[in-house]
Amino acid sequence: MLALNLLINGLVTGCALGVVAVSFQLAYSTTRIFHVAHAGIYTLAGYLAFSMVERGLPDPFAIIIAALICAALGALIQYALYATLERRRASHLSVLIASLGVLAVIQNVISAFYSPNIIPFTSAWRGQMMSLGLTEVQVATLIVCLAVFAAALLFARLTPLGKRIRAVASNPFLAEITRLRPQQTYIIVMAIASAMVAIPGALVAMDLGLQPYNGTTVLLTATIAVIAGGIGSLTGAFALAVLITVLQNLSLLAISGEWSVGITFFIFLIFMLFRPTGLFAQR
């Protein structure tokens, strides 16, 4: 019974993490920037939703508005920081360090404004139990995150904008010549990725509460899923995120929870040794 509970919990958290991984995949495979600050946006979304719910806004609206604000922030980071650095021909290392700087700023502004400690999310429906030991908010997380993943897949395959993003991702130079305007595309991609990551950010916060520095571990696990799934593959990122989280949850049967980072990391090292290109590599 415990194993079943852990499995189901793993599936729910895994779907939330899957959306984080897919959004990171979208940003990373297009802009080629290892966008560490993504973890900050994930965390920020939870706090934004929390503040709005506290002021009496219904939960769904709070999530949508949080996603919009995060989209604007993501676009701003690309426009004001990453694009500037690229114009100045900054090295890859510099961009990475700047991104880490953004993460530190977001996390600590949150910590200073709210609290460095965990804040429970008091939402009307979060405690409601349903069958299989799931709470309502967990069921909502599962459904919404699967829907977001499906929407992301359809968007990338079918819409003109999705095709444009894939074109820029596969060859920015050629895209520049054919007037696809890579720089503008990067801003759009970062906005979309940030809006996407805000949804699990807010939903998981409603379930588990808010903590300013949690995002780093979440993003680390998501990036491991991205790499293990294969750079460029949205399905790979999502599937591996679910798999890793389920394995992590099941490992609780044998190993205590504090070491779950170790389990994730162990999976990563195995992939690095035996299949460094990932399971679903596209190139």
Partner: protein, 287 residues
């Protein structure tokens, strides 16, 4: 006067750490956010050995340096195999794992409440029990590390490392062993960070996991970025300025609960601003 010595002692210890980070990030060009983990390993080994009377200070420091060397080489090895971005994941992972280990191996490290009562350093019949003596010890260590760094930079090995950062393939084409050079640099960086950890443990006589977490790694990176990469002066200016910052912040009236967050936020802001406006730092070369 005591206050000045405590500031200078910390500066000296962080100069060693900055040099270690500079060697990896600035010179070899490996992004690392796990230097604080190595620092912590050194501190905990020396702390554990002295508290439990396993051995005296100098052998403990040697063991700490050796263990840090091995760990740092092991951490850096993936960066030789996989491309840059994958190593970022390794680096973050090691740092989070180290924090988990420091916090949860309660029998050895004392867990989240830390390891108190580490005795002062003692060797050759000398006891480093006052602020001034500790400062001398740290200053001597920092001088040795600085000399080592300066000599390395002038030696053929230093030029080889710079060349690797510029163009790894070209260096390999000249018949140089890139892998071995990187392993050597990582080993030196590990010894420095581990020794700095040992000095930190005997100086403060108390260590806890928050000193060696991801925030500490970000601080080390900020020191290198602010001071400037690849120069000795940069690694001295960085700690001098950034360790004075918490003291300056005490003049502003902010509650102690948010002080740490404000400080870390400023480090982050400095990282962004320096990368955009002055990637060479105050007295360094372009990163």
């Amino acid at each position: 006067m005591d206050f000045l010595f405590s500031y200078l002692t910390l500066v000296a210890i962080f100069i060693i750490l900055s040099l270690s980070t500079n060697l990896l990030v600035g010179i070899v060009g490996i992004f690392s956010v796990s230097q604080a983990a190595i620092f912590g390993l050194g501190a905990y080994i020396v702390g554990y050995c002295l508290v439990n009377d396993v051995m005296s200070f100098l052998p403990a420091l040697a063991v700490a340096a050796l263990a840090s060397l091995v760990l740092n080489v092991l951490i850096t090895l993936p960066s030789l195999r996989v491309s840059g971005d994958y190593f970022v994941v390794t680096s973050f992972g090691i740092q989070l794992l180290a924090t988990a280990a420091f916090t949860n191996l309660t029998e050895i490290t004392g867990g989240a409440s830390g390891m108190p009562g580490i005795p002062p350093a003692e060797f050759f019949g000398l006891s480093f029990d006052s602020g001034f003596k500790n400062f001398l010890l740290a200053a001597i260590a920092a001088t040795i590390a600085s000399l080592w760094f300066a000599l390395l930079m002038r030696a053929p090995f230093g030029r080889l490392l710079r060349a690797i950062r510029e163009d790894e393939l070209a260096v390999a084409a000249f018949g140089k062993n890139v892998l071995f050079a990187k392993v050597r640099a990582a080993a030196i960086a590990g010894v420095m960070a581990g020794a700095a950890g040992g000095l930190y443990a005997v100086y403060l006589s108390f260590i806890d996991p928050t000193t060696f977490d991801l925030n500490a790694s970000v601080l080390l990176l900020t020191m290198v970025v602010l001071g400037g990469a690849r120069t000795l002066a940069g690694s001295i200016v960085g700690p001098l300025v950034l360790l004075a910052l918490p003291q300056l912040l005490t003049f502003i009236d902010i509650p102690t609960t948010t002080a740490a967050a404000v400080r870390q936020g400023i480090y982050g802001l400095l990282l962004i601003l320096f990368m955009v406006f002055r990637p060479q730092g105050l007295v360094g070369e372009k990163l």
